[in-house]
Amino acid sequence: MRLGALGAMLAKELRVRMRSWRSLLTITLYLTALAVIGVGTVRYLRDQGRNTGLEAASIGPQVFGALAEFQIILLVFVAPALTAGAIAGEKERQTFDLLLTTRLSAFSIVIGKLVMSLAYLLLLLLMSLPLFALAFLFGGINPGQLLLTFLVMSMTALAIGSLSLLIGTLIRKVQIATVVSYVLAFGLVLGTGIFANILYSPPPPASPGSVGPAQAFFTPPPDPNPLAYLSPLAALSTVITNPFGAAIQIPFLPLPNGLPDEYFNRSFNNQAGQKGGPIVNGYLPGSFYALPQIWPLQTALYGGIILLSLGLAVLLVRPRRFWPRFSRRRRRKIVRPV
């Protein structure tokens, strides 16, 4: 029965959504933007004149990374708009009370709203897959990386969606709810990286002479600021690595991901503990140890955000269900009518 009701919501929402010209326009604009980024990156890298075989293998991950990074940014733009208005819109349109008097439980309503909003987002993600195939022309990306990339992206979409849905249940006005959701989404995706960068304090340099170049080479990069573990961009950076195992800095739009420089172009420290110049054009074979992975903790944290937001949203949809015992006790104090 509950599934039937959820199905009803999903069918209705998709029907309504796909009927409006805005949805088609959104899909078109979304894919156009991604295509521009993908093709632009390829052309940019080609114009760099790195045409050796070694460089070609690194073009694939860079294109893939650029697309993934921009997909995340586009998700930040699209997800709040789709989900913030899901419940706030029902309230504003005065259809919410009607929903609440049906057999739909608060859980069904919240999950139904999230699923239907994200079904559209999922559609956007699926439609972008052929563009990601562009990266496979160059090689350098394996299926595991593809899966992990989509895991990070899905969790990001879900987290932004759940947070926006929660905001939509707290704030009745769609416009205000949407603006607040955007602020939160940008804070989560970009703000975490920015602040992790600002707050990062590098470990004290080893005393001169104690660490030779070779030793530095075998030392894993230092831990980033903890905030970086909330950044999907940091997670992607450790998933999409270049053929030498180093994180990728997107060539023409380096977004703040909160990772120390050592994750990218690994460099030797010189005798004085200062960074030396990158060798081999920034690509240092780094396969002596695996790059510390950000994505397991990041997806776990986002899972927490999702559960917390949805749980709160379910409670807030029917606010009086908060303290059943408390309210029952209060109800006993009946003043008999005079």
Partner: protein, 371 residues
């Protein structure tokens, strides 16, 4: 304008335990008391008119019954289920139509009903037939594929009513169902509600427009400033609280003509007519329903005696028999019933206007907040 309150052939509520019961219901918003210890019962099969000015607490009470608000104090049951603790069961029994409601503009009429029937768990092969029947009932069958946004306000109201009915609820909670409708649509809505009552539904309908309810309701509850002032079967409430009905006794025209002739001199006949009037007054005063403080008024020019009447039909019959038995030449005998408007004004007349103003302003604010 006088409105006859009860049609002689109006369907009467079936006997049995009340379907809706409210006891000491109170709702506070901060320091503002929207509903103040309201208690009433709605018999099964009745149309219960919830009457009161704007901001009286009608919407709040209906929302509590619809499980959308939790009372601050007090209890309410629908079909024996507590609206707070057994909200799910209550929702199965009610069809709720709010005073202001929206529709999903991008859906067609049939898709709209289909969606709500699925949310109510109405499934199976019978659904299409059910939706057809509902559209038939609210006379929207010819609009089934039209987008909801293209419907007029009256049609949207009827569609919303059809939506309330998809799960065949026992109780309909209709908050100002006729607000914003033109006179024709109002009549259609009224007929629809009567039809639903014939189908066995119990209907709670709120309104601040009294004539709208007068023709419709079997029971009423009058609220003002959150307080329940009077309630029960319409006739009983009127008898108890309202301006009483006026009983007019007209003496025979011959006597009246005589009286006019006599005014020009013939004192003996005049005295005779006066005697008839006196006799009529005496008979009326001797009736068990007569009140000592209200004397019947003699309207000599019209040949009528009128008196405030608060009895039953049986009392009316007895009175006529007594008049005839006493030799009063009765030529006309009629009753003018008090109407709901008089009743409402007489019940709420002691309301200080500035408080009322304050109350409705707060209620507007509350409505703005959407509570």
């Amino acid at each position: 304008m006088t409105i006859e309150l009860v049609e002689p052939n109006a369907p009467q509520p079936a006997a049995g335990p009340p379907l809706v019961r409210v006891e000491g219901l109170t709702k506070r918003y901060g320091r503002f008391q929207a509903v103040d210890r309201i208690s009433f019962e709605v018999p099964r099969g009745s149309i219960f008119g919830f009457v009161g000015p704007n901001g009286a607490g009608k919407t709040t009470t209906i929302k509590i019954l619809a499980t959308l608000l939790e009372p601050s104090e007090g209890l309410a049951w629908v079909g024996g289920y507590d609206v707070v603790r057994q909200a799910g069961r209550v929702r199965d029994l009610i069809g709720y139509m709010p005073d202001f409601f929206g529709v999903y503009d991008d859906l067609s009429v049939i898709e709209y009903l289909d969606f709500y029937s699925r949310t109510q768990g109405v499934g199976g092969p019978g659904r299409a037939k059910l939706l057809d029947d509902l559209l038939e009932l609210v006379e929207l069958n010819y609009k089934r594929n039209a987008l909801v946004e293209t419907l007029s306000r009256g049609m949207k109201q009827r569609l919303c009513l059809a939506r309330c009915l998809v799960h065949d609820p026992q109780v309909l909670l209709l908050d100002e169902p006729a607000s914003g409708l033109d006179p024709r649509a109002r009549v259609e809505m009224r007929e629809l509600l009567k039809e639903l009552q014939r189908m066995g539904k119990t209907i709670i309908v709120s309104s601040h427009i009294l004539p709208e309810l007068a023709e419709l309701c079997t029971d009423i509850g009058i609220v003002d400033r959150g307080r329940f002032l009077a309630g029960g079967p319409v006739e009983e409430v009127i008898r108890q609280y309202g301006r009483r009905s006026i009983l007019r006794v007209r003496l025979s025209p011959e006597e009246k003509d005589q009286a006019q002739n006599n005014r020009n001199g013939a004192g003996k006949e005049a005295a005779g007519l006066a005697l008839q009037f006196e006799r009529a007054v005496a008979v009326l005063q001797a009736q068990p329903w007569a009140r000592a403080d209200v004397r019947p008024t003699v309207l000599a020019a019209r040949g009528e005696v009128e008196v405030s009447f608060g009895g039953t039909d049986a009392a009316l019959r007895q009175t006529l028999a007594a008049l005839v038995g006493a030799g009063v030449p009765v030529a006309g005998f009629g009753i003018e019933r008090g109407n709901l408007e008089d009743l409402f004004l007489s019940i709420t007349e002691n309301r200080p206007p500035e408080e009322a103003e304050d109350n409705s302003r707060r209620s507007r604010k509350r409505q703005k907040r959407g509570q």
